[in-house]
Symmetry: C2
């Protein structure tokens, strides 16, 4: 008789939560009971999991001692409160919110890169799944770091509105429709009109001038790679794009690495698809709906000896969040539970 695991999906009515429901249902994981949790206002909604319908329950009242695994796909402030409560009740928490990015007692895991860090989860019972930008960056830096080392890394992260959840998607959709009908776009969630505009900031701006998204990217990538001294400098933008996260990466290598060598290295790394078309890979043309991180425009930085440029795209709901959590759960169950 094989073991079964009872699970909770926290934020089940959200975008990442919905993708977790879909991917967990399609996975080979030995899932027993499933609790779908949401805010009190969204409780009572009917969702299907592996052919059976369940009502969403209110997060506030849920007893986490009834499950072994809890997936958290809620904003940081909510995760901060309830993830600790779930872990204290004995559930192993896998969290995407970023609430534990700086917490050294919580491992930050991208299975293709640092599966070995999963041994560290028992102290707190919480495992962090990094941001979509951090996941892509760590996956592409890992083979380069191992082969030739890394110097300064400059990154521009282009976040889609879905990284701000369903309200972000609704805002871009409604502003676009309003503008096409000659109406005022009425910004609510974002500080400025997002339709046909680009915003040079995502997340709260800290006293240093950096945003939380930028600090999170650098911190999580260093932690996943196990290189606290790595020099990662990021700017995070918000684009008028519904889904997906794109990165422009401009890096300095420790030793020379030409574009051909870089392509060969990246092609053999797990989870990456390298596209050599001159026009590169795009969210809508390539990444959305797929599991990989797409790498393109791999080329020398012509301004210096050891510079390398590349562009990345991935589906922020899949490898950027829900898929990474499911992979962490698979690894946990296979090797650690």
């Amino acid at each position: 008789m094989s073991r079964q695991f009872d699970i909770a999906i926290v934020g089940a009515t959200g975008l990442v939560g919905g993708m977790l429901v879909e991917l967990l249902a399609a996975s080979d994981l030995p899932v027993g009971e499933v609790a779908l949790l949401a805010s009190a206002e969204s409780a009572g909604k009917r969702l299907a999991f592996r052919g059976r319908h369940r009502s969403t329950q209110a997060l506030d009242e849920f007893d986490f001692s009834t499950v072994q695994l809890a997936f958290f796909a809620v904003p940081e402030a909510i995760a901060q409160v309830h993830a600790e409560r779930a872990a204290e009740a004995g559930a192993i928490v896998i969290d995407v919110s970023g609430a534990f990015a700086a917490d050294q007692s919580v491992p930050v895991v991208v299975p293709e890169v640092n599966a070995e860090m999963l041994t560290d989860f028992r102290e707190r019972g919480i495992i962090a799944s990094p941001s979509p930008g951090s996941i892509q960056l760590a996956m592409v830096l890992k083979p380069v770091l191992d082969a030739v080392g890394l110097g300064q890394i400059n990154v521009t992260v282009c976040e889609s509105v879905s990284e701000a959840g369903r309200p972000g998607v609704d805002e871009l959709a409604s502003q676009t429709a309003r503008l096409l009908n000659g109406q005022n776009p009425e910004p609510k969630l974002f500080s400025q009109q997002i339709a046909f505009n680009a915003l040079p900031q995502t997340g709260a701006v800290l006293e240093s001038g950096a945003s939380r998204s930028e600090v999170r990217l650098a911190l999580e990538t260093m932690r996943v790679l196990g290189e606290p001294g790595l020099r990662i400098n990021a700017t995070c933008l918000r684009l008028p794009v519904f889904f997906g996260t794109s990165l422009v990466v401009q890096l300095e290598t420790g030793q020379p690495l030409d574009a051909g060598q870089a392509v060969a290295l990246l092609e053999s790394a797990p989870g990456l698809v390298v596209v050599e078309r001159p026009e590169g890979a795009t969210l809508i043309g390539d990444a959305l709906g797929h599991d990989a991180v797409w790498v393109s425009r791999v080329r020398a930085d012509l301004s210096r000896e050891q510079g390398l440029n590349l562009c990345l795209v991935t589906d922020n709901l899949r490898k950027g969040a829900a898929l990474n959590c499911v992979q962490i759960a698979e690894l946990l169950i296979k090797d650690h539970l």
Copy 2:
């Protein structure tokens, strides 16, 4: 009796050409006769200039010996042929196409930065106005270079569809409308759907893997600053935005310069507006319809000692193209003709 200058506007029915007509008409320049030139298909169209309507004439047949100044706002391949012809006929050419970016006998001018280079125009009779990205970058690098010197400069340029001319604007508009009506977006001009997508390449990709836009940005910025050894590394993206050009600049300074000092330096530089709101400046919220280059998110690069980050936005049709040309013409007439 004051002098008058007869002028030609080549590409008068295009986006930059239309802005040239508007800005030249509103300027104090002593304009005599105005020839509005376009392709044979667009010839015969009626356009107003300072209250008088004129028919556009075919570029192919125009005799440039009848004008003293010719503004070229046409694609590179057309500029290559007709700008030389105009200059040989005795007109002074001001060209925005990029056809002469690498030509050392043609000065590349941003009046706020290198007005003194205008003395060099007589050899060929051609002056180049740089790309919208190069203009912004040169304007912001100049005061930093003069104060503390510059090391490696990494830039992500976000081009709007209008940088590909009117067909680019039409493609984003029609794809957006088609998608909102449940129809296939049908990419034509751009390699992939541009609506709600971001493309990691603009302009033809060269054998080195860099695009012409990326090479042009580095080359023009170095030439405007008079610093052929500057290390500028660029990635140019196309965003689903109608107007404006945005830059993410991540630079290394020659000597330490903190964010406060940088803001003070940039505030006193000509043509820049520094915005200290945490959320930064955006195209639609700030730059479009205005003449300045807007600088925001000026902050330290937390990953190293002498790193500085900032974001730029400007109206690509104004300071990015037509306004820069008008300023060059004003300087020419005042000091050199």
